[in-house]
Symmetry: C2
Subunit: 484 residues, 2 copies
Amino acid sequence: MDQATLIAKLTGAVGADYIHTDPVALRAYNCDALTIYKGQPSAVVLPADTEQVQQVVRLCREAGVPLIPRGAGTCLSGGATPAPGGVLAVFVRMNQILEIDYENHLARVQPGVVNLHLSRETLPRGFHYAPDPSSQMACTIGGNAAENSGGAHCLKYGMTTNHIQGMTVVLASGDAVRLGSDGDEAPGLDLRGFFIGSEGTFAVTTELTVRLTPNPEGVRTMLACFKEVGDACRTVSEVIAAGAVPAAMELMDRYTIEAVEKVMQAGYPKDAGAVLLIELDGLPSSMRPLEALIHGICMRNACASFRAAQSEAERDSLWMGRKRAFGAFGAIAPAYYCLDGTVPRSKLAVVLEEFDRIAARYGLRITNVFHAGDGSLHPNVLFDDRVPGETARAVECGAEVLRACIRAGGVLSGEHGIGIEKKREMRDQFDAATLGIMERVRDAVDPEGIFNPGKILPGGDVEFPLAGASQPGGVARMAAAFSK
Amino acid sequence: MDQATLIAKLTGAVGADYIHTDPVALRAYNCDALTIYKGQPSAVVLPADTEQVQQVVRLCREAGVPLIPRGAGTCLSGGATPAPGGVLAVFVRMNQILEIDYENHLARVQPGVVNLHLSRETLPRGFHYAPDPSSQMACTIGGNAAENSGGAHCLKYGMTTNHIQGMTVVLASGDAVRLGSDGDEAPGLDLRGFFIGSEGTFAVTTELTVRLTPNPEGVRTMLACFKEVGDACRTVSEVIAAGAVPAAMELMDRYTIEAVEKVMQAGYPKDAGAVLLIELDGLPSSMRPLEALIHGICMRNACASFRAAQSEAERDSLWMGRKRAFGAFGAIAPAYYCLDGTVPRSKLAVVLEEFDRIAARYGLRITNVFHAGDGSLHPNVLFDDRVPGETARAVECGAEVLRACIRAGGVLSGEHGIGIEKKREMRDQFDAATLGIMERVRDAVDPEGIFNPGKILPGGDVEFPLAGASQPGGVARMAAAFSK
């Protein structure tokens, strides 16, 4: 099938109002929030339902053209950046909450539902959708499933995979099948769990059944400030080792504090080497002894100041600093590259020191703001994308940071996925036998490689050009827009 | 390679003291706790370490002989019943707790470690291993991983897959690879999650890194008795709908109460139609309002009596009745067939009525004792295996019970796996496209079908003969030994 025929048939499938083929319009879709790599699609389609997705899948397979699903495009590892010439399926029209079953704590949603919209809908009835990525105001539940997204409160509540019971997906054959179930369990091989986090390389998801979580009876948010980041790290490790599981435990280092306080008054002391934002939830009576325990551990680790938010407004302000941290980096650097890796909690302090040494070697700065409780790091390489060669240097610096995580017993990705960004480093993480099994399984699910090629696994012939220094709009600016 | 050469080489691999080939000795391994189906192995090997497992895998592949891993043999769906003529690898020698990392809440164990032994080891330090199948005194963590086992406290704490971070497995190629990680996250395709629950059909697990869970500050165990089982079911549904998540919520019906009280004094009132065993955990101050809420819901649903255990001894006695329920069925029937299916909590009452009608049609009795909180049912078909044809009738009755679960929106298996038992019914649960994907993925992981053939997926040419009525030792007797 030639390009013109494919476009004509796609137009027939989704309707003329719901397909873009104009190169200028398509430029808006040539990357996700990892703007370093670009891939220009040949068409963007906006399907309305599962049947239309099935038609689009069949057409792309017949034409031998890649199909790439895209939610809000907030992915930070290039998961939604199209293989050049591919067809991008965007789910803005499939954004309905189809059913809420409060009795069984479940909601049936379309993939384009914005993460936060589901919680807004269910909060008045005493429930929310627990996974809360920083981009939750924009990102979609379908995208979250593709990336197995995390968030600040995943320390206590678990990642996206723990909150999705069932999915309808369209396979490469064009068949729509149901994975998982509407209950807590599903028999046979766990395809549901295996498809979650496959970054759109296995199938296109067209419906999800997700768990709703009862709202906590109360919340207590604390800010602990430290002179030395190492003391903050040790505090995190000791709190968890003591058996406490806060709802969230976030660490921001000195550069992050500087950036945040430049753009807003979050109330973080400017001379601190690190702050910990710790949140408990539950009954007030159950939080009190936990707070005392945590306070004690902070003090033993040379905590310079410790306070708990006394009002909803103060709590919001403490969190706002954390949630806007990524955007705030724009105040201290022209561009930044947000990484994502994990290390055992007990290794946090040594790894952060290692990052400083790596940054110095590259003549760049690395800031850290991350989910400390689960050892899930977000080192950010600050750079100037207008300086020729500096983007490439930031990318290399980032790769070295990830290898340092692996050496410390950690992994390449906590919650942002592998995408384009880290597929080369998959060889540092896994041996050939493991990568071979991943490849064989992927090929079994999608034998012709139609779905989102060039992602996750190293090798293959899809290339994504690195954005040149001359390109307007740096890494930071687009990512920042979605990271607030 | 002929049979004699294979045996000789296996003997070389594991040592002459650790291989059985005598047909009489092998009879002890011809089934697991689902004793309806039998399969006589050609050899049983007891490997000592990963290297020996690698050798055994390579030899079996070379000889084209199936390899079946076996933990304690407590599986209730035939997962460890060998394909006739296969080699069974039993993990009794690989039963060491290799390392306990209290700081990161992790333990590294060999697959043959008995579930309860890990908790016994860690309890004094304030931790336990949360998944608690009824067979936890005997079953192994490797077997739990293969079946993704549940247990009474999985309502609050999640199934086995939520508690295993990483695994070393030996693939069909003989390569030993590491899946998952020692942290909370693992990048790339989630092979860890996908291999868990694959019932030994993908690989042989030789090491596991599992999560340790902090012991709760306190525990409160309540017994609520109802005249009508429907009222108990509605109570379960309303407790969960109210947003409460007890640590456990178990339902026993009238026949189960009768059986338990025949063999021990658990303190269940003999005239009750159903009892609910409800356990809360946490701080006393957080449990008090929850207990009041649950008590209120019970009373609104015609609860005849409600009491909370006032001592550790009383708590143990309440639980002992539940834990010995399966064994107690021996007091009211010569044999029983323990099923495992799930339904949405809101359908519990109607499904139990449907089971009664099905049992009546087959001239049999069905008792129910199950994890009500997550809608995970264990209907038990009571029968007399000495009556010709009654075993086959019980099997047919069981299949109809499972189809009733599926019709009610539930699934074929909550926690016992599919094994041999339910592979035929997989066609009732899944359409051809879904089964096709499962098959393709399995074939990609194990191209020659070496590992545990004849399990999970329907079709294939491995046959497991149904045990005749003349065979000594009924379904109940062996299963009961492991279900205490």
